[in-house]
């Protein structure tokens, strides 16, 4: 067994390296992914080892990056494209939504689009505008796309492997403020399915559901609540489309209470979807309405205000208290 402690950034880098090494049809494309190794160094050293034919620096044109990746996929390649920051994906949104998501269905299954779109997302790094957004619901809403986000190094490593092997397009959201968080990665083990949620902490009084950057906040909230005698279960959703409702249902049937936490605005967010479905599935088990904690219906604020905007420990615990008060 090869067990190694590494950061999420390193785990992604190792995973991409393995993908390039395993399948000659895998390509990496994006702005600055070559010599620089990406602005977050996720592709560090890959062009040096695999060449400019496999790790391709592209013009600064997001629609072009995704659009040409579609063409390469049609030719039999498996491109992994990097969008430099969350807020920069919108020039490519048309290609992702009208072409990448729908071409397999349009062709009645005759062609496959194995494209991975990597997007460093979310706030908490003190960045300027367009560098801190959480647009996952915009992609999860579109049939034909699958949307995932790891929260730890092991998932980062394995979920990337699984995304590259998928014949469906995958929008792979990377929690950028967790890039430097370290964790154990078991590089030999066979992982669970890409779209299965995991129980990050067991508990009996209330279920917290989160994904990506918010899993850590929820684990800290659960630990704090423990000191007050509250037993909180934390689920790491891992996949925002499809969503593993079975795992959430099992947990809520046990705890009777659910709070969903994400950085994206609450309004029309993934929390709304989870609340609606779980209310349907667990109506007679719920002791309280499903509550949501997330961003406001406002543009992502300047960095000096982002701690107010992003759900932190206190806001999560406040929601926990409100739920338990029913």
């Amino acid at each position: 067994m090869a067990m190694e402690k590494m950061s999420i950034a390193k785990a992604l880098n190792e995973s991409l390296r393995k993908a390039l090494d395993t399948d000659p049809k895998v390509l990496i494309m994006g702005e600055d992914v070559g010599k620089l190794g990406g602005v977050f160094r996720i592709t560090d050293g890959l062009q040096k080892d695999f060449g400019e034919d496999r790790v391709i620096d592209t013009p600064l044109a997001e629609s072009g990056i995704v659009g040409t990746a579609i063409g390469l996929a049609l030719r039999g390649y498996r491109p992994i494209v990097e969008i430099q920051f969350d807020g920069f994906v919108f020039p490519a949104y048309d290609q992702i939504v009208t072409q990448l998501a729908k071409m397999h269905a349009r062709a009645l299954g005759k062609i496959k689009l194995p494209v991975v779109v990597r997007i460093p997302y979310g706030g908490g790094i003190g960045a300027v505008e367009h560098h801190s957004e959480s647009p996952e619901a915009l992609f999860a809403h579109v049939a034909g796309l699958k949307v995932v986000s790891p929260s730890n190094a092991s998932d980062a490593y394995w979920m990337m492997q699984q995304a590259v092997q998928s014949d469906d397009p995958i929008i792979f959201f990377e929690p950028k403020r967790r890039y430097w968080d370290k964790g154990e990665v078991e590089t030999d083990s066979i992982p669970g399915p890409l779209h299965r949620a995991s129980v990050a902490r067991t508990g009996s009084d209330l279920t917290l559901v989160a994904y990506g950057p918010m899993v850590k906040v929820c684990l800290e909230a659960a630990a704090a609540a423990q000191e007050e005698g509250k037993s909180i279960e934390v689920l790491d959703l891992r996949s925002m489309s499809p969503i593993d409702f079975d795992t959430i249902q099992t947990s809520v049937e046990k705890t009777g209470r659910l709070v969903v936490v994400h950085e994206a605005p609450v309004f029309y967010g993934s929390g709304a979807e989870i609340a609606a479905r779980i209310t349907e599935r667990c109506f007679y088990h719920l002791e309280a309405p499903v509550l949501r904690v997330g961003g406001y219906h406002a543009p992502y604020p300047p960095a000096r205000l982002e701690d107010e905007y992003l759900p932190g420990l206190d806001r999560v615990l406040d929601a926990v208290d409100r739920s338990l008060a029913y």
Binding site: T58, P59, A61, K102, H104, A143, K146, D167, P242
Partner: protein, 390 residues
């Protein structure tokens, strides 16, 4: 991938090799800035054969008759589809009337292993690729989003969003170059699409990666109701120069010139010399689609002036002058046209609605539990009606 590395890996793509066909860039370089720059023309509207210094073509009488037949049958098919829309059999039709030469000329320049990325009006190109014309009607009837396997004839599905496919063509061509293949890719789009960012981005990517792609713009003068002047202040083919590859304007109603120019551009791509923009200067004689009414936005005289340049009539005149086709040929072709019309009409009327459950088919390649759940709910809902009926 860089230009250098491509050239290094595949020496036969080296630009050292002397081009057998003169580069179209020379044509554009000496074209004056005017509203109607010089066109590459090999057959005048009067059906006179003329020569062009950069583009020669020598076709047998049989080949000429073949081009004529392609154009006539494509026009007949198009007319039938328009009629079927009027009869309520199709929800919409995008007619190619007037653009037969641009499509047949470019389509017949292609090799079987070339790959085509069409917009939604390339019925003539589809014909050249061997796509059964009845397959083109499924999406307009509303039974599917494209009724053919793109890889059977190397003819991609129609793309509705303007200009998107130029990037797919460019990416595909990048893959062709990576594979070391010597085929080429052609992307069709219109004058309206030239305003889209995707078209500009595809020019950038194809130039940077030296992709073997030909951009074939059919400038039919109108983007629905907007004239070309609302899209550009310079002749479209001149755009290419700023991206670093040649652009050439060809008489889009001259099937010989379209064939010669496209063949030259494809050969250039195959030699590893990168993209070319071909602007086929033509005219959409009908509406953009059956949904619009061109009498609201353009003068009748304009269409009349273009009818005098009709691509089919001019080739017929030439065939007759050359005695390359006799009356028996034209009569037989007329009968073949009518038979095609009848076959299309019957095929459309016989086209079944898709199975209800097709809503859920192929949403994902690897499946999705949400789709499975909704499919089951939908099936149960449908079944409930059957039970009520009993």
């Amino acid at each position: 991938m860089t230009v250098e590395s491509t050239a290094a890996r595949k020496p036969r793509r080296s630009s050292k090799r002397t081009s057998a066909v003169k580069t179209p860039a020379k044509t554009s370089a000496r074209t004056p800035q005017s509203s109607e720059p010089e066109l590459v023309q090999l057959l005048t509207p009067e059906g006179e054969r003329v020569e062009h210094p950069d583009y020669q073509i020598d076709l047998t009488a049989e080949e000429l008759r073949g081009l004529y037949r392609d154009m006539v049958l494509t026009r007949r098919f198009d007319a039938e589809a328009t009629a079927l829309q009027r009869q309520g059999e199709l929800g919409l039709w995008a007619s190619l009337l007037g653009q037969e030469a641009a499509q047949i000329g470019s389509g017949r320049a292609l090799r079987d292993d070339d790959y085509v990325f069409p917009t939604y009006r390339e019925h003539g190109v589809a014909w050249c690729r061997g796509v059964d014309p009845t397959n083109l009607l499924g999406m307009f009837r509303g039974v599917n989003h494209g009724g053919w396997d793109p890889n059977t004839n190397n003819f991609h599905l129609y793309t509705i969003v303007i200009g998107s496919q130029t990037l797919h063509a460019t990416g595909y061509a990048m893959g062709v170059a990576k594979d070391g293949a010597d085929s080429a890719v052609i992307a069709y789009f219109g004058d309206g699409a030239s305003s889209q960012g995707d078209v500009a981005e595809s020019f950038t990517f194809s130039a940077v990666y030296n992709a073997p792609v030909v951009f074939f713009c059919q400038n039919n003068q109108w983007a629905i109701s907007e004239p070309t002047e609302k899209q550009t202040r310079v002749p479209l083919y001149q755009r290419a120069q700023g991206f670093g590859f040649p652009g050439v304007r060809v008489d889009g109603n001259d099937v010989l010139a379209c064939l010669a120019v496209t063949r030259s551009a494809l050969e250039r791509a195959r030699r590893g010399e990168g993209p070319t923009l071909v602007e086929a200067f033509t005219y959409r004689m009908g509406a953009h689609t059956t949904s619009d009414d061109p009498t609201k936005y353009r003068a009748d005289e304009e269409r009349a002036s273009w009818e005098a340049k009709d691509p089919i009539l001019r080739l017929r005149t030439y065939l007759e002058k050359q005695q390359a086709a006799d009356e028996a040929f034209f009569t037989a072709l007329e009968e073949e046209s009518e038979a095609l019309g009848k076959r299309v009409r019957e095929a459309v009327r016989a086209m079944p609605d898709p199975d209800r459950m097709a809503i859920f088919d192929h949403a994902y390649a690897d499946g999705n539990p949400l789709v499975d759940e909704e499919r089951a709910q939908f099936a149960a809902y449908q079944a409930s009606f059957a039970e009520e009926g009993n």
